[in-house]
């Protein structure tokens, strides 16, 4: 599983202040920390960058490239900022992201071709996020076909099925899993990514990690190629590195519907089993899902 570290995000006050003040230090610290923790890519999420898009993106890319050699995932919906960043990346970057929206098809996909980079394509269309597996498939087939026509091969495309929070849309969480399961049959050679932490948006802070980690393992079982995630979560990296085979086995068995005797498990194992049941939709989500 390829981990794209999500910590450099404009929503973070530390990051937005640092960008505003052009103070590279806090951002470089975050980059170094994610690199050390085991991230494979560093995501630079700038949002829409309304002011000085070119200069801002290039400043950020340079600041990060000064301290880490990892490839970057450039995350902005502003095509001007995107191109400015793509131009100066030392390693083959990931364009994050294009989608089935008209603007994106017209402005982002050509950039991916021009700079011959990897590109995230999400299932979002002009009408928003398509609900359910079928609508997502329809959207992605269309956008990927267009990208292929433009000369972007499946191997360079990272499909993002769009993940919704389990606290708000439990049924969609299951649909997303189904989508990932069939993706490689639909589009051979294609890669995938997903905003993993979205799964736990709206969940009490202390409980977010286990949802993120469990869902990563579940996605991984169905061939998920990468996740945009909290690389500073040690247990998440541990799972990615295959250091917790026992937990992975429990998650798989729970996904298969095995009736596991909870009393035979450690508290941590129990939590993973309960969390898997919530993410498969077997048990109704509540903030207290670990307590019952």
């Amino acid at each position: 599983m390829v981990i794209i570290g999500e910590s450099i995000h404009i929503i973070s006050k530390v990051v937005s202040d640092a960008i505003k003040e052009r103070n590279p230090k806090p951002i470089q610290e975050l980059a170094i920390a994610q690199n050390r923790a085991g991230a494979d890519y560093i995501d630079l999420n700038l949002g829409p960058v309304r002011r000085d898009p070119e200069e801002t993106m290039q400043w950020l890319v340079n600041a990060v490239q000064e301290v880490v050699v990892l490839p970057l995932s450039l995350d902005t919906m502003n095509p001007i900022a995107m191109e400015a960043g793509l131009k100066i990346c030392n390693k083959r970057p990931l364009l994050n992201s294009a989608s089935g929206k008209t603007d994106s098809k017209e402005q982002m996909l050509p950039l991916a071709k021009k700079y011959s980079c990897d590109v995230v394509i999400s299932v979002i269309t002009d009408r928003g996020c398509p609900p359910g597996v079928d609508a997502r498939v329809e959207s992605i087939m269309e956008t990927v076909a267009l990208a292929n026509e433009m000369g972007i091969p499946n191997e360079d495309i990272w499909v993002d099925p769009i993940l919704l929070p389990v606290s708000a849309s439990q049924a969609e969480v299951k649909e997303t899993l189904e989508f990932v399961k069939i993706l490689s049959d639909l589009l051979p050679g294609i890669k995938s990514t997903i905003g993993l932490s979205n799964i736990s948006n709206g969940t009490p802070e202390a409980l977010r990690g286990i949802l993120n980690r469990t869902y990563m393992v579940m996605l991984g079982r169905y061939g998920q190629y990468s996740v945009i995630a909290d690389a500073l979560d040690k247990e998440l990296i541990s799972l990615k590195r295959g250091e917790m085979p026992n937990i992975v086995d429990l998650i798989y068995r729970t996904m298969d519907g095995e009736d596991i005797d909870l009393s035979s498990l450690s508290p941590k194992e129990r939590d993973y089993v309960k969390t898997t049941k919530v993410l498969t939709g077997e048990i109704l989500y509540s903030h207290a899902w670990l307590e019952s």
């Binding site: 606290s167 439990q170 048990i283 109704l284 989500y285 509540s286 903030h287 207290a288 307590e291 019952s292």
Partner: protein, 301 residues
């Protein structure tokens, strides 16, 4: 070959909650079929129809719904008796005088009144605080204490105040109404928290009941899903009976206030909707609504 419609049987069952004491005790819920699926089995306890009583003269009731009670509105004991005379299965006393935004009546006074109502009528009593999260702690714990052993159905216990109210209900032997704001996940969460110290067979869920035209479909969905999850999917944290406190919401609407007939129909449609969704207790306001719903249930119309 004769066709036989398939009949489902379910693994789950709604818990039977007993409210009231001694010969007055009444069973709520206990069904193991989906609402009105009588082809799948039978229900032991029919939905209970309740009329509402205020502990003060209501200042916000529509004239048409206050009219039937006009001779008793200043005396909650007589009012409660009148509700039973109208044919209600039991009575719901709302302690609206305690609202800090209104009369702000002290807990002691309403607790004594509650006791009087509870011991005078020969049915169990449902008691709601004013809905002020902070004041309700004081009011409901006092009511619980003064009415010890009456086995009231007491609430609402909400996320913000359930701990002391739950403790009082436990200490003094009452059942509890767990109220959440039309949200299935929060409903489950509150149940889980209550169940840590409170017996689940003494909990009734109030998912909030919106009025027709004002989001009734959301309340319907939550009740329907609660039944599905409890009965079909056997989730023990969701197997409580449901109370639909709908009279209040229905009569708040301008449509209900427009005329008596329309008001009764507005309330009745909401009541039928929640019956279809699986509500086990319906709290109504107008005696004509009660009559109409009874006739529908017993197949007279």
């Amino acid at each position: 070959m004769e066709y036989r419609a398939p009949i489902e049987t379910y693994a789950g069952k709604v818990r039977e909650v007993v409210i009231g004491k001694g010969s007055k005790a009444m069973k709520i819920g206990g069904e193991s079929i989906l609402p009105l699926h009588f082809f799948e089995g039978s229900i032991e306890n029919p939905p209970r129809l309740v009329l509402e009583v205020y502990d003060m003269e209501p200042d916000d009731w529509a004239g048409a719904v206050l009219e039937p009670y006009k001779d008793v509105v200043s005396d909650p004991v007589k009012w409660a008796q009148k509700c039973l005379d109208f044919g209600a299965d039991l009575v719901c006393l709302k302690l609206m005088s305690t609202d800090p935004g209104g009369e702000n009546a002290p807990a002691e006074a309403v607790a004594a009144l509650t006791k009087k109502v509870a011991t005078t009528i020969n049915t169990p009593l449902i008691v709601y605080g004013s809905g002020d999260e902070t004041k309700d702690i004081e009011v409901l714990t006092k009511v619980a204490e003064v009415c010890a052993g009456e086995n009231l159905l007491l609430g609402p216990a909400v996320k913000e105040n359930y701990e002391p109210i739950c403790k009082a209900a436990l200490d003094y032997g009452h059942c509890l109404i767990a109220q959440t704001p039309i949200d299935i996940n929060l409903e489950k969460e509150l149940n889980i928290k209550l169940m840590k110290s409170f017996p689940p067979e003494r909990i009734v869920i109030d998912p909030l009941s919106s009025a027709l035209g004002y989001g009734i479909e959301y309340s319907f969905s939550i009740m329907e899903r609660t039944k599905h999850i409890g009965i079909m999917f056997k989730d023990a944290t969701m197997q409580m009976p449901i109370i639909a406190d709908l009279g209040k919401e229905s009569w708040k609407t301008k449509e209900a206030k427009a005329s008596e007939k329309q008001g009764i129909l507005w309330e009745s449609i909401a009541a039928l909707t929640f019956l279809l969704a699986g509500a086990n207790i319906l709290v109504l306001r107008h005696p004509e609504t009660l009559k109409l719903i009874k006739e529908v249930i017993t197949g007279k119309i």
